[in-house]
C-alpha cells in the first residue's frame, strides 16, 4: 500500500522527463512558425542582409502592404467566402443524412456509408482535371460556388461521419418521447435534437472550415481571377526583382490566424474530428 500512498517523491523525476520531451517536441513544432513570424516583421533588406534570430527593427510594413492592397486582401475575402459557403452547404445536407445513418437501417445504408468514405479518401489530384472541365462547361469556372461545391467532395463525407459519431451518443428514447408528445420531425429536429448535439455541429463546422481552408489544389485549379484564394495569391510575391520574402511571410502568418483563433474551443475534439468521429 505504501507504493500507492506515497508515490510523489518517486514520481517526480519521471514527470520531469516527460516535461523535457514535451518541451523539445513543442519547440520543434513552433520553431518553423516562429521563423515565419520573425521574417514577417523584418524588411527585405534585413532578411537578406543580416542573419538574426529576432527582428532588429521590428516593422509592421509587410502586414500593412497586405491589408491595404486590394489585390492582396481580396484573396482572403475570396477564401473566406467559399469556405463559409462550403461549410453551410456541407452541414445542411449532412445533418439529416447523419441522423438517418445513426437512427435507421435502410436498404444499402452500409454501402452508401462506405461510398461516402471513399470520397474523403479520393486524391484531389484525380479530380482536378474533371472538375475543371465540369465547372467550365456549366459556366461556374472562377466562381466561389464552384470551389465550395468541389470541396463538398471531401467535406460532406467528413461532416456526415463526424455528426453520426456524435448522434450515436444521444439516446433514442429522446426521439421517441418527442414523437409521442406530438412533435413533427422537422420541429423535433430543430428544437430538440440540434441543441443536444450542438457541440457536434460546432466540431463538424470547424473541420469543414479547416479542410476547405487548407486545401489548395482544387481551389487553385477552379479559379483564375475573380475567386482566387489567398493561397494562390501568395505565389505573386515572386516578382521580377526576386521574392518578396517579408510579404510572403506576413501572408502566411495571416492564413494561420483563423485556425489559431478557434483551436482552443475544439481542443478536446480535435482527435475525434480528424478520425471522422470514430474516437
Amino acid at each position: 500500500m505504501a507504493d500507492i500512498a506515497a508515490p510523489r517523491s518517486r514520481m517526480l523525476p519521471r514527470v520531469n522527463g516527460s516535461a523535457v520531451v514535451m518541451v523539445i517536441y513543442l519547440a520543434f513544432l513552433l520553431l518553423p512558425i516562429y521563423w515565419l513570424l520573425n521574417m514577417s516583421l523584418k524588411t527585405n533588406t534585413e532578411i537578406l542582409g543580416t542573419f538574426s534570430l529576432w527582428p532588429q527593427n521590428p516593422t509592421l510594413a509587410n502586414y500593412a502592404t497586405i491589408l491595404t492592397d486590394a489585390s492582396w486582401y481580396v484573396g482572403y475575402v475570396n477564401s473566406l467566402t467559399y469556405v463559409v459557403m462550403n461549410t453551410a452547404i456541407s452541414l445542411t445536407v449532412a445533418l439529416p443524412a447523419a441522423y438517418a445513418f445513426s437512427r435507421y437501417s435502410f436498404m444499402g445504408d452500409k454501402h452508401l456509408f462506405f461510398w461516402l468514405l471513399t470520397n474523403r479518401m479520393a486524391p484531389p489530384a484525380v479530380f482536378a482535371l474533371p472538375f475543371f472541365q465540369l465547372y467550365s462547361s456549366v459556366g461556374l469556372f472562377d466562381t466561389h460556388i464552384a470551389v465550395a461545391l468541389a470541396h463538398c467532395l471531401f467535406n460532406v463525407p467528413l461532416a456526415v461521419w463526424i455528426l453520426e459519431g456524435f448522434m450515436r451518443g444521444v439516446p433514442k428514447e429522446i426521439d421517441e418521447t418527442a414523437y409521442i408528445d406530438g412533435y413533427s420531425f422537422p420541429r423535433f429536429f430543430i428544437k430538440i435534437f440540434m441543441p443536444l448535439i450542438a457541440s457536434g455541429i460546432g466540431v463538424a463546422a470547424f473541420f469543414c472550415f479547416m479542410f476547405s481552408w487548407v486545401e489548395l489544389l482544387l481551389s487553385r485549379t477552379l479559379t483564375s481571377v475573380e475567386a482566387k484564394p489567398i493561397a494562390a495569391t501568395m505565389t505573386r510575391t515572386v516578382g521580377a526583382s526576386g521574392v518578396d520574402w517579408g510579404v510572403l511571410a506576413a501572408a502566411g502568418m495571416l492564413t494561420i490566424i483563423p485556425g489559431a483563433l478557434v483551436i482552443y474551443f475544439v481542443r478536446n475534439y480535435i482527435a475525434k474530428g480528424f478520425a471522422l468521429g470514430r474516437v
Binding site: 507504493d3 517536441y25 513543442l26 520543434f28 513544432l29 520553431l31 512558425i33 521563423w35 515565419l36 521574417m39 532578411i47 537578406l48 534570430l53 439529416p96 441522423y99 435507421y104 437501417s105 435502410f106 436498404m107 452508401l112 462506405f114 470520397n119 479518401m121 479520393a122 486524391p123 484531389p124 489530384a125 484525380v126 482536378a128 474533371p130 472538375f131 475543371f132 472541365q133 465540369l134 461545391l149 463538398c152 467532395l153 460532406v156 463525407p157 456526415v160 479547416m210 487548407v214 486545401e215 489548395l216 493561397a231 501568395m234 520574402w245 510572403l248 511571410a249 492564413t255 494561420i256 485556425g259 483551436i263 481542443r267 480535435i270 482527435a271 480528424f274 478520425a275 470514430r278 474516437v279
Partner: protein, 290 residues
C-alpha cells in the same frame, strides 16, 4: 444501438447523395471515359480500348512515382507512429498544461498546406532559413534543391513536423479512456513501466492507433501541395510523388488518356485501402459495443 428499419430514411440521405454524385460520380465518369478513348484534338474522340493502361504499366515514369510514393509513405509512418505514441505518453494527463499542449500541438494541423510548404522552403534555405543556415554553418553540405538526399530529408522532416501531432492526439485520446483502476492494479502487481505500456496502454490504444495509421497512410498517399511547394518534385524526378506526377500530366501536358488511366489506377488503390479502413473501423465499433 438497435436501429429501426425505415426505408423512408432514404429521403434524409437524398441531398447528400445528389450533391456527392454531382461532385464525385460525374467527374469520375469523365475520367473513365477518357481512359478508354483517344483524341486528335477538338473533341474528336474515338475508342482506344486499354492501350492507355498498357502504356501505363510499361511507363517508367509511373513506376518511379509509385516507388517514390511507397517509400515516402513507409518512411513517414515508421517515424510518425512511434514518435506520436511516445509524445502521447509524455503529455500531461489533465489540467492547464494538458490544454496548452493540445492547442500548440494542433497548430501545425491547421495551417494551409501550401503555407506549410512555404514555411519549410524558407526554413531550410541556406541563406535566410534557420535550419539551412545552421546546417551550413556546421559544415554540412545541405541544398534541398540540388541534392537527392537533402530533398528527401526535407520533405520527410516537414511531414513529421506537420502530422506527428495527429498520431499523438489520437493515441492520447486512447490513453485518456483507460480507467485509473488499471494503473493502480499494475502498481499493486509492481509491474514495470514497460509492462504497463505493453499490457495496459498499448492494447487500449490499438483501436485509435489503427485509425491513425490508416489516416496517415492515406493522406500521405495523396499528398501534393507541401512537397510541390518545397521541391517541385525535384531534383530531377527524385521527389515526384503520385499526385505531383498526375497533376503534371493532366493539367500541365493535358495528356488526357494517360492521366485518366493513371487516375483510375490511383483511385483503385485508394479504394482498396479505404475498404480496409472501413472494415477495421466497423469491427472496432462492434468490439466497443460489446
Amino acid at each position: 444501438m438497435e436501429k429501426t428499419v425505415n426505408q423512408k430514411a432514404w429521403f434524409l440521405v437524398l441531398p447528400v447523395l445528389v450533391l456527392v454524385a454531382f461532385s464525385a460520380v460525374i467527374p469520375l465518369m469523365t475520367v473513365v471515359n477518357y481512359s478508354v478513348q483517344d483524341s486528335f484534338g477538338q473533341n474528336n474522340f474515338f475508342w482506344a480500348g486499354l492501350i492507355w493502361f498498357e502504356e501505363l504499366l510499361h511507363s517508367e515514369r509511373m513506376w518511379n512515382a509509385l516507388g517514390n510514393q511507397l517509400a515516402f509513405s513507409a518512411i513517414i509512418l515508421a517515424i510518425e507512429v512511434p514518435l506520436g505514441i511516445f509524445v502521447a505518453l509524455c503529455m500531461p494527463k489533465k489540467g492547464f498544461w494538458a490544454s496548452v499542449c493540445l492547442v500548440l500541438m494542433s497548430l501545425p494541423l491547421l495551417i494551409p498546406w501550401n503555407v506549410v510548404g512555404t514555411i519549410w522552403q524558407v526554413f531550410a534555405r541556406v541563406d535566410i532559413g534557420l535550419l539551412g543556415y545552421t546546417l551550413d554553418k556546421m559544415g554540412i553540405d545541405y541544398n534541398y534543391t540540388q541534392d537527392f538526399f537533402a530533398a528527401w530529408a526535407t520533405i520527410i522532416v516537414m511531414d513529421v513536423w506537420h502530422w506527428t501531432s495527429l498520431v499523438a492526439l489520437l493515441a492520447y485520446a486512447g490513453l485518456q479512456s483507460i480507467p485509473n483502476a488499471y494503473y493502480q492494479a499494475a502498481k499493486i502487481d509492481q509491474a514495470s513501466r514497460w509492462a504497463v505500456f505493453r499490457f495496459i496502454e498499448f492494447p487500449k490504444m490499438l483501436g485509435v492507433l489503427m485509425i491513425a495509421i490508416l489516416l496517415r497512410f492515406m493522406d500521405s498517399f495523396m499528398i501534393y501541395t507541401e512537397p510541390f511547394v518545397v521541391t517541385g518534385g525535384g531534383p530531377g524526378n527524385a521527389t515526384t510523388l503520385l499526385s505531383i506526377d498526375l497533376v503534371k500530366m493532366a493539367l500541365g501536358q493535358f495528356d488526357l488518356g494517360n492521366a485518366a488511366a493513371f487516375s483510375i489506377m490511383y483511385f483503385l488503390v485508394i479504394l482498396a485501402i479505404s475498404w480496409v479502413f472501413y472494415t477495421v473501423m466497423t469491427n472496432l465499433d462492434k468490439r466497443d459495443a460489446q
